[in-house]
Amino acid sequence: MPDNQEAREVVGDYKAGWKDTENSTIRFDFGLSEEVVREISKLKEEPEWMTELRVKAYNHFVKRPMPKWGNTSTLDEIDFDSICYYLRSSEATEKDWDDVPEEIRNTFDRLGIPEAEQKWLSGVTAQYESEAVYHSIREDLEEQGVIFLDMDRGLKEYPDLVKKWFCSVVPLTDNKFSALNTAVWSGGSFIYVPKGVHVEMPVQAYFRINAKNMGQFERTLIIADEGSSIHYVEGCTAPSYSTDSLHSAVVELIALPGAHIRYSTVQNWSSNVYNLVTKRGIAHENSKIEWVDGNIGSKLTMKYPAVILKGEGAHAEVISVAYSGDGQHQDAGAKIHHLASNTTSKILSKSISKNGGRGTYRGLVTVSPKAENCKLNVVCDALILDEESRSDTYPTMEVANPTARCEHEASVSKVSDNQLFYLMSRGHSEEEALAMIVNGFFEPFTRELPMEYAVELNQLMALEMEGSIG
């Protein structure tokens, strides 16, 4: 049974902070070595090329220094030896919620996943610790040839497809954390949408960390073939512990000519989770990749969803919001590389910091010399709710072709007493008034989310504003 009382004491307002008792069927000792990496691969009965790829990535991870930018002092606090790199709590990935172990099922029930699945999703994968515990896709999509599997099954059933694309967008030497992910990855989604198929309703992945000092390293690969489209939504939560957990995912997207991929995230980790994620997509001719990225929780998030505009006429959009509360640092942004002519991109970043929280926008947009007539638009807005909080902006544009049209706007604002007074004079308490301002500030983001998520995000922010008035 979840220990509610204790959970509440630890978590305060964080409403996804309960924990289940741990019933692991396989649990690795803390710490990482080549042996651990090989053990994970063996346990999963992987082909040899994957084992060797993992080992190579591990060696790169060990050699690669920590990034020398971002929140280096918090990064340096990560103790890689006190993290569990693999933990399995369920024997199998089930297709029926009734077959999922009761306690785990209860957790996903409380998070509303099965209910959402019935109402408005095309498919769901639910990952608990290292493995997917539930997975299902609507039959009609399966019949149209859509592949939606957890990554481990993907590798088993479509080894050639995986071999072709795995690490093709994010090479294992990309950065320290993508190397770590490549070494110890487990779970995540594997999606292939055939030519011309439009997946109308979103598919959702939900990632839950339950155990203490857990490392979750899911790996997601989405390939949208020519003229196809898909909307993938992910959510994540964890219990609040006083010790740290590490979430380090890699997501690779491939949009073939004319395809459209939208990838939406509402990250709501508890404030003991390091969230260090590499997300990148390659957009071929006339395709479109959109990252809709909401970062509400975690201790430190470093995440810069990226798009490589490789084919002519491709379009990239990164819309992100970040909320940093007490003890949190959201270091987030976007990277877009215009490699081909007539490519367009749009970045909208909104950040709110409160109670000493710290928000950083870090963005990079490049236009290569050969790319003619590109259009770039970058807008970043920060809202600071009190004197202790902080917001920094590092926008970088490297434009090597003079035909590019670049627009850039940045603003930092504070909530004014007059704005609050105006709303309060209409019958709204100070907290409600603040939530209205904050939700309004995030509105350009929430309107891009499926309605159910938008409502949830607004409620979440209202909760964050409670007790915030001194």
Binding site: S416, D417, N418, Q419, F421, Y422, L423, M424, S425, R426, G427, H428, S429, E430, E432, M436, I437, N439, G440, F441, F442, E443, P444
Partner: protein, 261 residues
């Protein structure tokens, strides 16, 4: 509350009100009694303290009440937060309404009505009908509902939106701070008829702050008060507005100095 003997009970009463901000005193002893069904007007030059008075009645946290009291239906408002005052029926049409980007007008109106008049009043077909009628009356197009509160509104749109809120929130005491400036004559007539409909023959009341007599021709206030330097220096009937228009504020100021008014 029962009325004091021989005297009707005041809807709102301001008693010897002294207000300062950052150690500067702005209002220096104001008295005002508004009875149910009455419309009062405060006139005065820029900087005389009109907005300060309105903000203090609504409960703006920046002002310090040094002395005196403000009562609604006999109970002091001063210890109450602005939203409590709003729920008790005080409404302020702002001289400078604030923009809230991302907050949709329709949503905001529904939430405000729910908060002040109760959830039921903000639900279903009745609310929609009420909303549509008020918008038609103010000549506000439906597309307005999906815009963001005061964000990019013209001066006239802001003022019309304030009156739309007044009509939907059904206050006991409506304070209109320079709602007429920024409106054309058509707008002024609409506002005036809105105020008349909300107040005349009801137990509500209104306080109209302005420095033009134009709106007063259409509302015909019961009393006009002239505020100069934080004090009410003259009070009278509607004729005072006309005299002011003709002779200017210097005239009242001189009269006040001579103790005539």
């Amino acid at each position: 509350m029962t009325a004091a003997s021989g005297q009707a009970e005041a809807l709102m009463e301001i008693v010897d009100l002294h207000v300062g901000i950052d150690d500067t005193s702005i209002l220096k002893g104001i008295d005002l009694r508004i009875l149910p069904g009455e419309v009062h007007a405060i006139m005065g030059r820029n900087g005389s303290g009109k907005t300060t008075a309105a903000n203090v009645i609504m409960g703006h946290p920046d002002y310090e009440v040094e002395k005196g009291d403000v009562l609604l239906n006999g109970d002091s408002l001063l210890d109450e937060d602005p939203w409590e005052r709003a729920r008790r029926g005080v409404f302020l049409s702002f001289q400078y309404p604030q923009a809230v980007p991302g907050l949709q007008v329709g949503n905001f109106l529904r939430k405000s009505v729910a908060s002040i008049r109760g959830e039921d009043a903000a639900k279903g077909a009745n609310f929609r009908k009420e909303l549509n009628e008020a918008m038609d009356q103010l000549k506000i197009p439906r597309s307005f509902l999906s815009r963001y509160v005061n964000d990019g509104f013209s001066g006239g749109e802001k003022k019309r939106f304030e009156i739309l809120q007044m009509m939907l929130l059904k206050p006991k005491l409506a304070i209109l701070d320079e709602t007429d400036s920024g409106l054309d004559i058509d707008g002024i007539k609409t506002v005036a008829s809105g105020v008349n409909a909300a107040v005349r023959g009801t137990d509500s009341g209104a306080l109209i702050i302005t420095h033009y007599s134009r709106i007063l021709e259409h509302v015909k206030p019961d009393f006009i008060h002239v505020l100069i330097g934080g004090k009410i220096v003259a009070s009278g009937g509607p004729e005072l507005a006309t005299q002011l228009e003709e002779n200017g504020y210097d005239w009242v100021e001189n009269m006040a100095a001579e103790g005539v008014a």
